[in-house]
């Protein structure tokens, strides 16, 4: 009846996952009860869960990422504590649990923190920056979000029902094959990633179409903000490589479920083929994450330096160069495979070449600041912390790209320090910069700067205290993922690293405090101008938060930084407050529960597949088909906001903005 699912699946004998799992679920249930008692349910359903508005979906992505960051970070604390304690002993985590912790940490941080946060910022900012009303396919956008949420849910479900993968953040065979991993851990991993991967692929398709086909009049390619360019590059890479991930995990699943022999190393299977396929996705994946972060830095640095971005054209070329070269370096993840010196040399050189466009970007950011009037706000601090730290992470990457050096450093703590050094200062700092930068646009009030700066300093110091030791321990021969060790030379570094993670914890506490304090004092920090940072691109030309239609009339873009350009003109000639545009009726896609229903069915199907409950799989798929047909059968997919209503909203917004801007000017 229930396949492999029995009471054995509940880890009653393992207190740590059980207690933490129960705590999480009590918190979730408590939240749901609170929502119901307060009567927020219908509002949440109408305005958020069924929303197809890109701004709402973007915010939900960011909330998902923030929640999962806490989960992934608690794994990090557990790992650092284990390695600090496990000198000459077993520490407090048994190997089976430690393996699940590091696997869950990597999986969650990449797939359910970095990805949703990046996609969340893209969702929120790209249509606003392009001067349009929504993405190309708003309903699919909602489906994307909810499929990502299903992946996150399944990973967290494995805490209390069954177990999670013990094979690392990528399930390398033959270890991940049924013979060596008979439990459901790898299945949880595979189905969670397959389901959320489909969501990500749809996002990629959606944004490629949006950016190439849906821009305001006059917004030519060479006038797009750099963030849109980086989002385009990132989504092109998503479209190009996520299908490889889907195919690869499908092969692994076929091996596990139907006794196929792709990667088994028996009956002709070849596990190294998995390495090639997974890294053909895996290396471009890090550029999917970091390119939009580069876009955020470009926006932030230009805004807070009060200058146009230096070398816009070279920035675009560098972005697209990275987009392409990122797909030609994957073999550097396994130079030790033994492909021979010629192959290794080609991939080593390609990996070094990719540092060149990245270097171009770093110089562009520095020259943008040069001669500018730099305002050291917290988004700017995150950007400066990024430039300084990321250059070091990039340099250690060039070092690892030397095949001869890589043979020494492969799978060492040096490698782990390197990729944390690129992903935390590179991606995460960029996400925090973007979060602080666009928060007032999303909610209409500015985040607390003092706590924001505290968070920045704690993060950047904590990061270096946590990961500089990794470089040293790695050079001293420490391999990654050690549950215990006896080498006294490594121990002090692991203690220092644990201290670093505590400093980062303080940084996260500061961020939570920043959010809470800002919300409580939001009346005092309200931004009525819609342009709190003296911004340059179009998103600052509408109110904060923007109305559902973003722009009452589509902007007519005439320059690279039209909004900034217009602000430089004498008010009398260019900004006739009195005259109004011609308002026209606006078509807006109707909200729909199809994303949520899809997510529910995907959860049921995924869970049933993991536990081999075949009747439930059939029910889930049948439900998906019915949903598809019912959705296709709808007659009214859009509603119309009348010209009068658009004019009313726009007039009110313009009046408030005019008043507040004039008040500021006085």
């Amino acid at each position: 009846m229930f396949g492999k699912l029995t009471w054995q699946a509940i880890p009653l004998h393992e207190p740590i996952p059980l207690i933490s799992g129960i705590a999480v679920y009590l918190a979730v249930i408590g939240l749901v009860v609170w929502v119901v008692i307060k009567g927020y349910g219908p509002y949440l359903w109408r305005e958020w869960i069924t929303s197809v508005d890109h701004k709402r979906i973007g915010v939900m992505y960011c909330i998902l990422a923030a929640v999962m960051l806490l989960r992934g970070f608690s794994d990090a604390i557990m790992m650092r504590a284990q390695q600090a304690l496990a000198f000459h002993g077993g520490g407090y985590l048994p190997p089976s649990h430690f393996d699940q912790v590091f696997s869950a940490h990597g999986t969650i941080m990449i797939f359910f923190v970095a990805m949703p946060f990046v996609i969340g910022l893209m969702n929120f900012a790209v249509p606003l920056q392009l001067g349009v009303r929504d993405v190309a396919f708003p309903t699919l956008n909602s489906v994307s979000f909810w499929l990502t949420a299903v992946g996150a849910l399944l990973v967290n479900l494995s805490l209390v029902v069954g177990e999670f993968s013990r094979t690392g953040w990528l399930p390398f065979p033959p270890l991940s094959e049924l013979r060596y991993s008979p439990g459901v851990g790898v299945d949880y991993y595979c189905w969670a990633i397959q389901i959320s991967g489909i969501g990500t692929l749809i996002t990629g398709i959606n944004f490629v179409t949006t950016i190439l086909k849906l821009r305001a009049p006059g917004m030519s390619y060479m006038r797009m903000p750099v963030f849109c360019w980086t989002a385009l590059a990132s989504c092109l890479v998503i479209v190009a490589v996520f299908p490889i991930l889907t195919a690869t995990l499908a092969m692994l699943l076929l091996d596990r479920y139907l006794d196929f022999h792709f990667f088994t190393d028996t009956a002709g299977g070849n596990s190294m083929m998995f390495m090639n396929l997974i890294w053909a996705w895996g290396h471009p994946e890090v550029y999917i994450l970091v390119l939009p972060a580069f876009g955020v830095y470009s926006e932030v640095v230009a805004t807070f330096s009060g200058k146009p971005l230096f070398g816009y054209r070279s920035m675009v070329i560098a972005t697209m160069a990275i987009c392409i070269i990122s797909m030609t370096v994957w073999l550097h993840h396994f130079f030790t495979m033994g492909a021979g010196p010629d192959v290794n040399a080609v991939f080593g050189i390609a990996s070094m070449i990719i540092a060149v466009p990245t270097g171009v970007k770093v110089f562009n950011w520095m020259f943008t600041m040069y001669g500018g009037r730099v305002r050291f706000t917290s988004p700017m601090l995150w950007s400066l912390g990024f430039i300084v730290s990321f250059v070091i992470g990039g340099l250690t990457g060039v070092l690892l790209a030397v095949p001869a050096a890589d043979f020494q450093l492969h799978n060492s703590e040096f490698l782990v320090a390197h990729f944390h050094n690129t992903i935390i200062p590179g991606v995460v700092f960029g996400l925090f910069a973007g979060y602080t930068y666009w928060f007032p646009k999303a909610f209409g009030f500015v985040l607390d700067e003092r706590l924001g700066k505290w968070a920045f300093w704690l993060w950047v110091v904590g990061f270096w205290v946590a990961w500089a030791p990794g470089y040293v321990a790695g050079l001293e021969g420490m391999t990654r993922r050690l549950q215990h060790y006896d080498n006294p030379a490594w121990h002090p570094w692991m203690l220092l690293s644990a201290l670093g993670v505590l400093i980062i914890l303080a940084g996260i506490v500061a961020q939570i405090a920043q959010l809470v304090v800002s919300i409580r004092t939001r009346a005092a920090r309200r931004d009525l101008t819609g342009d709190p940072w003296d911004g340059r691109s179009l998103e600052w030309a509408t109110s904060s938060p923007p109305p559902v239609f973003n722009y009452a009339t589509l902007p007519n873009v005439t320059a690279r930084e039209s909004y900034w350009d217009a602000k430089q003109q004498p008010r009398e000639t260019t900004q006739p407050i009195t005259s109004e545009p011609d308002y026209e009726p606006i078509e807006i896609p109707r909200n729909t529960p199809v994303g949520f229903v899809t997510a529910f069915l995907a959860t049921v199907t995924g869970f049933a597949l993991i536990w081999h409950i075949w009747w439930m799989v059939v029910l889930g798929l049948l439900g998906a088909l019915i949903t598809f047909v019912v959705f296709a059968w709808r007659d009214r997919t859009e509603f119309v906001i009348s010209a009068d209503e658009a004019a009313r909203v726009d007039r009110a917004n313009r009046a408030v903005r005019a008043e507040s801007l004039l008040a500021l000017a006085r």
Partner: protein
């Protein structure tokens, strides 16, 4: 939060170009300044991008097949198993179904309910015929002890060809939904957009089949020693 410049809110549509005002030479802008594309273009374009991603997924299965082609683990080889007559018949079914699908496009263009339904029904029948032949071939292999578990070569064969077969199955479900929609709701614009996507999908399956036909069946039955 500097606000030294006196700013006033404006409708973005009222922005006036600095260069144009000063009579300066026009900026080099790149292309694509014409505003949002039409709904039909957006839908078709997005679906093309999806098809490209689907082709990439197939290319992963093709890559796996070529890597594992010779790994028969002592079991039957491609040359022993493949029956080109069956493959020829399958190809005929699928290519003809593409032709009838194109006829359906013309019928939709002419707003002819009758011919649309006839052409789509023919497409469906041919699609089902193709699937039947494929399932029969799979069953024959399994009966010969050459199921997907026999060797890595057969695993990759069943996955690649089976993935195409699953696509055809999904396409058939989609096709019947389209027939019902045309019948009940007529030639509404959004339904014609969906139909455009469906025809693209069906033709793409054909292109992938051409690759399977050539790289799997034709190459697989080459005489021994022909391939390095």
């Amino acid at each position: 939060m500097s606000t030294e410049v006196l700013r006033a809110p404006m409708s973005p549509s009222q922005l006036v170009p600095r260069a144009a005002a000063a009579g300066a030479p026009p900026q080099v802008t790149g292309h694509g300044a014409g505003g949002p594309a039409s709904k039909r273009i957006i839908v078709g374009y997005g679906f093309w991008v999806f098809l490209l991603s689907d082709v990439i997924m197939f290319s992963s299965f093709f890559a796996a097949y070529s890597v594992l082609f010779k790994n028969t683990a002592g079991g039957p080889t491609a040359r022993e198993l493949y029956d080109l007559h069956n493959t020829a018949l399958e190809t005929a079914f699928l290519l003809t179904s593409t032709f009838t699908c194109a006829l359906a496009s013309i019928a939709v263009g002419q707003r002819s309910q009758k011919w649309t339904q006839i052409a789509l029904a023919c497409t469906a029948v041919l699609g089902v015929g193709f699937l039947t032949l494929e399932v029969r071939e799979f069953a024959r292999f399994v009966a010969l002890g050459a199921g997907p578990s026999r060797s890595a070569f057969l695993s990759s064969f069943f996955t690649l060809v089976g993935c195409h077969g699953i696509h055809v199955t999904v396409g058939l479900l989609w096709l019947t939904t389209m027939m019902a929609q045309f019948y009940v709701k007529g030639f509404r614009t959004d339904i014609r957009h969906r139909f455009l996507c469906f025809t693209l999908f069906w033709h793409a399956l054909d292109i992938i089949w051409v690759a399977i036909f050539s790289l799997v069946y034709l190459v697989g039955t080459l005489p021994p020693g022909f391939l390095p």
